[in-house]
């Protein structure tokens, strides 16, 4: 099965990403709720990159690779935009977001709550965000 996706940096491509992820997760024994959570977490990271690191430039792209075994699923997201270090990002308090009437800022909270391991590496020309979901975990 195809487990790689090249996603051009347009917000309208997020539905294509979800479709790809649904297919990749088809043969897992995950519940509908868990499957949706995983799709959501990967989309949040990709949406963040598309909007903030690539300013929705359709000539830019990000690359997603998915690998699976019995115990875990790993989503590796590579891009060459402005590095967004998800590990260093201080997630806002929900109460603060509400008070300031912000419309964004909670996506990374979701990623951190859903995924089991989050890794980030950055070199001169490439950023890699690796999200691991252990099967039979939270």
């Amino acid at each position: 099965m195809r487990n790689e996706l090249k996603l051009y940096c347009e917000k309208s491509n997020l539905s294509e990403l979800r479709h790809f992820l649904s297919n990749v997760l088809l043969d897992t024994q995950l519940s509908e709720i868990s499957t949706n959570q995983i799709i959501l977490a990967v989309e949040e990271v990709c949406a963040n990159l598309i909007i903030h690191s690539h300013a929705c430039n359709p000539r830019d792209s990000i690359h997603l690779n998915v690998s699976k075994d019995k115990h875990k699923i790993i989503f590796e997201i590579k891009d060459s935009g402005k590095a967004f270090n998800i590990l260093e990002y201080q997630v806002p308090q929900l109460s603060q977001v509400i008070k300031e009437r912000k419309k964004g800022g909670v996506g990374i909270i979701l990623v951190k709550k859903i995924m089991d391991i989050i890794e980030f590496e950055s070199t001169a020309n490439q950023n890699i965000c690796r999200l691991t979901k252990c099967l039979n975990s939270k």
């Binding site: 917000k11 949706n36 959501l40 419309k103």
Partner: protein, 114 residues
């Protein structure tokens, strides 16, 4: 793809959300709610029974109006969410901050509560 339909019933407006809300179209949801507030609608129902997916962009829209609803006394109730969409509200704890009901009847009770 998201389709938003507006229906007036009694003293309230129902926004029916059909499809998926993500970063590409959450502005449509935002504009629909903004318009209701501009029209001074004080009772708003969101029919989420045909909502298949919501990301943080959609949740963010609802969150950004919580203060306004509180200050202006607007009653805002969401109902009919399927289990996976409801779960997304739950992960963030938004089910504690927003009125979310399973049925339209339950939502109406909150909307017209004395």
């Amino acid at each position: 793809m998201l389709n938003i339909e507006k229906t007036k019933v009694d003293q309230h407006i129902i926004l029916t959300l059909d499809g998926e809300v993500d970063a590409s179209n959450s502005v449509e949801l935002d504009m629909a709610i903004q318009q209701l507030l501009a029209d001074r609608v004080s009772k708003i129902l969101i029919d989420g029974s045909s909502l298949e997916y919501i990301s943080s962009a959609g949740l963010g829209v609802f969150m950004s109006y919580l203060e306004d609803f509180e200050k202006t006394g607007v009653r805002f109730v969401i109902y009919g969410l399927n289990t996976k969409v409801k779960n997304v509200f739950h992960i963030l704890g938004l089910d504690q901050l927003l009125a979310i009901k399973d049925s339209e009847q339950g939502a109406l009770e909150v909307l017209y509560e004395e």
